[in-house]
Subunit: 374 residues, 2 copies
DNA sequence: TTAGTTAGGTAACCATCCTTACAATTGGCG
DNA sequence: CGCCAATTGTAAGGATGGTTACCTAACTAA
């Protein structure tokens, strides 16, 4: 049975508040009347909400708008995007913890990073906390909260259920950091974060988006109906260990060679052909081999794209490896192996966010957690 | 940008009403105090809601409950499941339109069917309307609404965007039938309906469920987080035309022979090996061939199961074909090609609803549309 | 018989939104 | 030049729906 939860008036209020913020965030400065039209609320209600938002310091009046029409000129109100900041941490990399201070536009104001020096477990948590503390001192405006993109399986409360490479199992990271720093903390899987970043800053289609992150490993974040898919055990997107190459495949896709043993103990996982180390070792610079990897990727993605009727698949990772024969082969394989209704509207493209996908996504966690902005 | 919609107090009321009905539907007769505890609402609010539900005739007081504990004995209230009926129509079959009258328990009270006689387009709409009219006369209790399970791509308003075999394109079926019969009408894709039936009557896990319907064609319905996945173009679940067999596959999986031409114009689609006609022609009674089909199915499902971290995959179709070597081969292939975290908790089973999946699902459309019960 | 517990109802209050009415300000038109 | 229509933002009053606090009824355990 589906368990829903009761709706209090204050929940409705919070929801409407988010709608107003959302509109200001994406639509830029607007008059109260504009906001009323956009949200469906009355001008009265919007005025009231705006008043509280101004009192909270999140929104400010800009003054009368250049009037083109008849009637009383509107006074624009705007989100004070430069007057608040948030902290983002990206733990994707094995060797270094990346941190940044961003403003509400998503502009990176400052970066800090520390080598991870092989730390794991509690020591790594401490290192993350130290990095956050440093970021707090670097911030020049009030900090709304902290977002963390972590590898591994993360639940909706920000507990890292498992991240073997980090020595983490059931680590309540959000709770620990929040207690340590006295700020709201939101933690999510790195691929999920990259997916949110694509949605918020990359202009992606929230009706059906899959972001494939290619790095040390291969992961995916999926957004349907504007929300992340989490999965029964919070392991949605763990697509790196689907078999993508078995013995018979390798006979025809010769450039790939035989299926390789994967770190997970099995053989022929997608990671063994598509992760960055595998690509560098066995395909970099060889268009044929890159195309062969692309074909394997297309074959793996075809059922997912069809089942979900996705609008976009976005690749995040080194462009010199991904954005060429690999991507093109994946795309044509995808087209060849799905019906037109599915492939017609499908985009398969590179991210426009470069290396900062997960980091920007960590920022989005805060925006969405604290302001309800997506 | 995600567009959300405003929440009025009356929406909250409707939501709470649904929560109470939901609880009564799944939990059976309960006291008002039970309902309050289950929903998180106050006893006052629940009492008020129950009063209106009694006035509407949906709920009735059963009298004092057999008291086991101290305190005033509770008076049970119950959904009047036998005193209301709903109509369900299943258009999946090429040759016959299936209809039924059900009560709110999901018990089928009466069945009616008419041969489709090759009708398509408007004539078919008329035939469906006629069938509904007959069902209305057969019903012995007030009818809450009509649910229709149709093949093809159906949008959220019950418009059939395309159903080539029925000669339908952009047919606002729900609207037409509703105008004709004066009752609320809900239309959904047949596989989606089967999926909802599995959720409501089959006790399936709404956190990650895929129902694969195998008949004339192959389709899938997917429920994540308790809601159907619809897809950008409402074509989610159209998995029958993913390539499942190419030239090189057939060399090893000899029992399947060469990839066959599919009705969609392409070659080697999942339907060409898994649809009932294909199974009957080329695999029925041959365990090796059935297992080979199961392996192809497992290969196609592995990426979907991994990407979504599904809890259950349910097969709906002729058990003599599906529930044997085919299912077992699919299951072991699925296990072999996904990582343990994914496959560990995954069930791959037959439906418990037999042939009536889509029909029962059509009934669920009404339950959920009119009462908010899932 | 009395104390304690549970169910269910009533009254007063609070939050939120809506509708209606109005002041302020502008452009266009006679 | 002055009036009207359009538009914005605010104020007052009403409707809805929830909460807390308190009351009575009916039962069990001592």
């Amino acid at each position: 049975m589906r368990t829903t939860t009761k709706v209090l008036p204050e929940d409705a209020r919070a929801h409407h508040r988010s709608m107003v913020l959302q509109r200001l965030f994406h639509g830029g400065p607007s008059s109260r009347a504009d906001l009323a039209r956009a949200t469906g609320l009355t001008r009265v209600t919007v005025s009231d909400l705006v008043t509280t938002l101004v009192d909270e310091g999140l929104v400010t009046e800009l003054g009368p708008s250049p009037t083109g029409r008849v009637g009383k000129p509107a006074t624009l109100v705007a989100l004070r995007t430069r007057d608040h900041q948030l902290l983002a941490v990206d733990l994707t990399d094995d060797l270094v913890l990346l941190g940044a201070v961003l403003d509400l536009e998503g502009e990176i104001v400052a970066r800090r990073s520390v080598p991870s020096d092989g730390r794991t477990g509690e020591a790594l948590v401490d290192a993350v906390a130290d990095l956050c503390r440093e970021l707090v001192t670097v911030a020049t405006r009030p900090v709304l909260g902290i977002g963390v993109a972590s590898p591994g399986v993360v639940d909706e409360h920000g507990t890292v259920l498992q991240a073997p490479n980090r020595g983490w199992a059931d680590v309540p990271l959000a709770q620990l950091l929040s207690a340590e720093l006295g700020l709201p903390v939101h933690v999510a899987n790195d691929a999920d974060a990259a997916c949110l970043a694509e949605l918020t800053y990359g202009g992606a289609n929230g009706d059906g988006l899959l972001v494939l992150t290619v790095g040390q490993g291969v992961g995916a974040g999926i957004v349907l109906d504007g929300t992340l898919v989490r999965g029964t055990r919070h392991a949605a997107g763990e697509i790196g260990h689907v078999t993508a190459l078995d013995e018979r495949d390798s006979r025809d896709d010769a450039p790939l060679g035989l299926p390789q043993r994967c770190a997970c103990g099995r053989t022929g996982c997608l990671e063994t052909v598509l992760a960055v180390p595998a690509l560098r070792d066995r395909a970099a610079g060889d268009p044929e081999a890159l195309a062969a990897v692309g074909r394997r990727l297309g074959i793996v993605l075809a059922p997912v794209v069809s089942a979900l009727n996705l609008a976009e698949v976005v690749l995040s990772g080194p462009p010199e490896l991904l954005d060429g024969p690999l991507r093109l082969a994946a795309r044509s394989t995808l087209r060849n192996r799905t019906m037109p209704v599915i492939s017609e509207d499908l985009q398969l493209r590179m991210t426009a966010l470069g290396e900062d996908g997960a980091l920007r996504g960590a920022a989005v966690l805060v925006l969405s957690g604290q302001l309800g902005v997506t």
